[in-house]
Amino acid sequence: MGDFNTGDTAWVLMATSMVVLMTMGLGFFYGGMVRRKNVVSMISLSFISMVLVSIQWIIIGYTLSFGPSVLGFMGGLKYALLHGISVSQPAPGAENLPHLAFVVFQAAFAAITLAIVTSAVAERAKLSAFLVFGVLWTTLVYDPVAHWVWGGGWLHTWLHHVLGVAPLDFAGGTVVHVTSGFSALALALAIGKRIGYGEYSMVPHNIPLTLIGAALLWFGWFGFNAGSALAANASAANALLTTHAAASAGALAWLLASWLREKPGALGLASGAVAGLVAITPAAGYVDVDSALVIGAVAGVACYAAMLYRVARGLDESLDAWAVHGMGGLWGAIATGIFARRGVGGAAGLIEGNIAQFAAQVVDVAVTLAYSMAVTYVLAKIVDRTLGLRVTQTEEYIGLDVSQHGEEAYAWGG
């Protein structure tokens, strides 16, 4: 019991708590951006993602992701229901920590990934179908990808074999953000646009709520990234600093870029910060602070451009998980291959002449992206054909708060 490093354990427990809070923060971030009649639904989708995935993770998700590999594709069932993990057992590859601390830290990652995807079904998801879709998605998309990149699966081994280096993903740029962002895109294509999209006004109903969400996201992301050091050490400190730098740069860059076309909104500021946070996620422990400023600033501009592109294309990936998490994650994963410095996290990137690392990042992203989109699209179509992913027209018209939850967000007449 007393053999673990208490400082590292404290930090990972704290980081876990922060990522859990961040997941609900995402609900508020998204919730403020929908119309008033759908805010309860939108927040609930994040909330439910956390609840569902956490239970799934304990029962089957952890072992599928981090259990002993079965042919490199998925983890075996050794840790199903977390059996065989005693309280005093150290985490695999991190003797400083209790295994259970690692399990719950990773649970929070799995949970937020599904929550990010809910952007795609904003204001039209059928609650019952989402429960089913959510469990399937996390089992068939998130768990395998986590296994491939972090759990010793084929992608990691194979790239190491072919290129001599494994892909770097400090805190989930591909596993979490590319996966969720591109899945959101596929899901949006599968479920279709909201009624009246592009025709009716769909301005965000409560910007302060979105900003509360953004604040919690920023805060939680310190746990997400710096916690991924799995220790309270210099790497964690570097990750925290680069995270903060990239978020700031992303926010400022989006603000300024959008100013060229329109008034610079608070939503842009917040979205830019998230873009910077996403992009630094895979890189946080591998790059220095100067690179972090660059990575964040580019992310701010690139994700803003991606959003404009999506809107111009008439795509109703409603709350821009694709533009911000998908494209931001993609950029971040590649940027890690560019800016990684041996002196920071032990791995070199392109600017230090390591082309292999750059190649590994590109392949890593490409595989994750393709797999996520394909499986998500098929899954969504199957759920749609069988259960119906989407509410009826009348239910959508009345709003999901009333039709799915029997609640009104803000009481009237009181």
Partner: protein
């Protein structure tokens, strides 16, 4: 002068507003209201108790126009607010005896 009170669907408001504007009806006062017509029966719950909420959000537009413009304005609203489904709303024409511009104090009409 008449006051035209039109109760319409919120999502049709922008279209109606634009159409009125294009036809020279600029001044208007709008209010968010709740209304019940032929639609009914959404149920809400709180902690075990059921509450019927059958009032949906609507926009009420009020425009005061000279008598001769009533028909034209009404037509514009009907055409632009209509979807053909229940819930499209109502228009009421109400007499106005006097209209005053506060800025100048002048009586209009």
């Amino acid at each position: 002068m008449k006051k035209i009170e039109a109760i319409i669907r919120p999502e049709k408001f922008e279209q109606v507003k634009r159409a009125l504007e294009e036809n020279g009806f600029i001044g208007m006062t709008v209010t968010e209201v709740r209304g019940r017509g032929e639609q009914r029966g959404v149920k809400l719950q709180f902690r075990g108790r059921t509450i019927t909420v059958d009032l949906l959000t609507k926009i009420k537009i009020e425009i005061v126009v000279p008598d001769e413009d009533v028909e034209k304005a009404t037509k514009i609203i009907v055409e632009n607010a209509r979807t053909g489904r229940p819930g499209d709303g109502r228009i009421f024409i109400i007499p106005v005896e006097k209209s005053i511009r506060i800025r100048t104090g002048e009586v209009l009409e």
